[in-house]
């Protein structure tokens, strides 16, 4: 290939810059892949094909781009060596340049397409992610609220455990009271029994005294009869004393009988009370046991609920942390979009340069040349949207339903 004009060099440089951007985009893409690799590769290949056609010895790596840029003079003037050598008209295949013009245009359109798709994807993803975050926070708050309601408040588990403990304590006290009462009752029965024993003893003594008085009265009557008439008055007294003794004995026996009856009734009553107290004590003991049992069963549930609340809170925090990294990823994706926009501007500029070089605007490129560029570009197309840039697929293979069961 002959010596390149400065304008050609500029075009090559533009292409190199595009390639560098493509590499950057690909690098960013590797950080946050969102299915843009294929279109980017298409762009890269289109740009490379263009560069390859223009300069076979183009540096293959971006690392060598900077020296190349430095080597290019700023002013559009011929170099010394060029001025020394005879002027040579560059051999330029215009149709080939026009074909590149179309290719560059397609590359720009592709980058615009990818940029737009990236923006839409980022927006959609952001909405979804932040929506999920809000939902997650709401769910977490609801769980927390529900669990707090379950545990807190008047009817909550915490309160229930406290009530159970209070009631258990009350039952415990009641049991102790009943025990004291039973012991007091037993003591009273004992005192009563002793007292009744003493009364019975007194009764027996009175009865004995009455017997002795009776005997004494009988003897007195006998002695009075023996005396005869003078002892008649004494006999009357002896009879009265005998009657008194009998009455005393009857009263003593009646009293003893009454006391026995009273004691019997009281003892029976005491026994019944004691039985009732024992039954109550058993019931209280059972209730106390049940209350303690419930309290012990509920307490782990309360702890479990507290654990769930903490877990729910931790999960919400985890989701928030994850959101941080997702937000960062989305911004990397936004960088990709920005670079693609820059790529589009560069390709448009390169296209304009080519149009100046060929002196044929894009609209003036013949259908034949356009078709050649489209054919070459479309060989790389793998995504439906790419075909839309060249007026759609020619075959009917994609006209069918998107999902088909054979």
């Amino acid at each position: 290939m002959g010596a390149m004009t400065l304008r050609n060099k500029k075009i090559v440089l533009a292409v190199l810059l595009i390639l560098q951007l493509v590499e950057l985009v690909a690098l960013a893409e590797s950080l946050v892949p969102l299915g843009l690799v294929v279109p980017l590769l298409s762009l890269a290949l289109l740009a490379w094909l263009f560069a390859e056609r223009h300069h076979k010895s183009l540096p293959a790596t971006v690392d060598r781009l900077e020296p190349v840029v430095v080597m290019v003079p700023e002013a559009d003037e011929p170099s010394k060596s060029q001025s020394d050598s005879p002027v040579q008209k560059p051999e330029i295949d215009l149709s080939l340049l026009m074909e590149q013009q179309v290719s560059i245009h397609l590359a720009g359109q592709l980058s615009r397409l990818v940029s737009d798709d990236t923006e839409k994807a980022v927006m959609t993803l952001s909405n979804s992610i932040f929506g999920l975050l809000q939902t997650s926070k709401k769910v977490s708050l609801n769980i927390e609220e529900s669990l707090k309601t379950l545990t807190g408040g008047e009817a909550g588990l915490d309160s229930m455990v406290q009530h159970l403990d209070t009631h258990w304590q009350a039952f415990n006290n009641l049991g102790q009271n009943f025990d004291t009462l039973r012991q007091a009752l037993e003591k009273d029965i004992h005192v009563l029994s002793v007292t009744v024993g003493a009364i019975n003893e007194f009764s027996d003594r009175i009865s004995d005294l009455a017997d002795q008085t009776n005997v004494l009265a009988i003897n007195a009557s006998i002695e009075a009869a023996r005396v005869g008439l003078p002892g008649r008055g004494f006999a009357v007294i002896a009879n009265q004393v005998q009657l008194l003794a009998k009455n005393s004995k009857t009263i003593a026996e009646t009293m003893a009988e009454t006391v026995r009856n009273v004691v019997s009734t009281v003892e029976l009553s005491f026994q019944r009370q004691t039985e009732r107290i024992r039954t109550s004590e058993k019931l209280i003991a059972r209730s106390e046991h049940d209350l303690r049992d419930w309290s012990q069963k509920v307490e782990p549930q309360v702890q479990r609920v507290e654990l769930l609340v903490n877990q729910s809170r931790s999960m919400a925090e985890l989701v928030t942390q994850e959101l941080n990294s997702v937000t960062v990823s989305l911004q990397f994706q936004d960088r990709v979009r920005q670079m693609l926009e820059h790529l589009e501007v560069l390709t448009r500029s390169a296209g304009d340069d080519l149009a100046n070089l060929t002196e044929v605007p894009l609209s003036g490129v013949s259908e034949n040349v356009r078709m050649r560029a489209v054919e070459r570009a479309s060989k790389l197309f793998t995504v439906e949207q790419e075909w839309s840039l060249v007026g759609g697929r020619r075959s009917n293979e994609n006209n069918g339903p998107r999902v088909e069961l054979f």
Binding site: E119, V122, M123, S126, N127, F130, Q134, K137, T320, Q321, L323, N324, S325, T327, V328, S329, L330, Q331, F332, Q333, D334, R335, R337, Q338
Partner: protein
């Protein structure tokens, strides 16, 4: 509504991410896509804090902050740069303009919220 934040950034994605981050925390977020639009919004809608990108079309972040700072009502309003720029030279330039902070993109929502809460207690 809580404190009012003006986010000036040419990237709609960044503006949206800022908005999504701050709205649930009861901040009101206004948006502008370049420095000039941001300046006009700041004049017409008094805000409590400005989040400004550096590299923007029409009017860049430095020019925008300088213009807003010159307004008497914004003399004490905190301003923070939210940018991909990370060089000390640019940061110094921002400090000389009197901004309160510098956040390098990509930002983490937690970091952004932390700074805003410090500046707008």
């Amino acid at each position: 509504m809580g404190k009012k934040i003006l986010c000036i950034d040419d990237s709609s994605t960044i503006r949206m991410l800022v908005k999504k981050t701050l709205l649930p925390l009861d901040y009101e977020v206004l948006e502008a896509e370049n420095g000039k639009q941001g300046l006009e919004m700041a004049i017409n809608n008094p805000v409590d804090l400005l989040l400004v990108d550096v590299n923007m079309p029409v009017m860049n972040g430095f020019e925008c902050v300088a213009a807003v700072k010159a307004l008497p009502q914004y003399a004490k309003v905190p301003m923070v740069f939210l940018t991909t720029e990370s060089s000390q030279e640019k940061k110094d330039q921002g400090r000389q303009l009197g901004v309160s902070g510098w956040i390098i993109k990509p930002f983490e929502p937690d970091g952004l919220v932390k700074i805003l809460r410090m500046l707008l207690p």
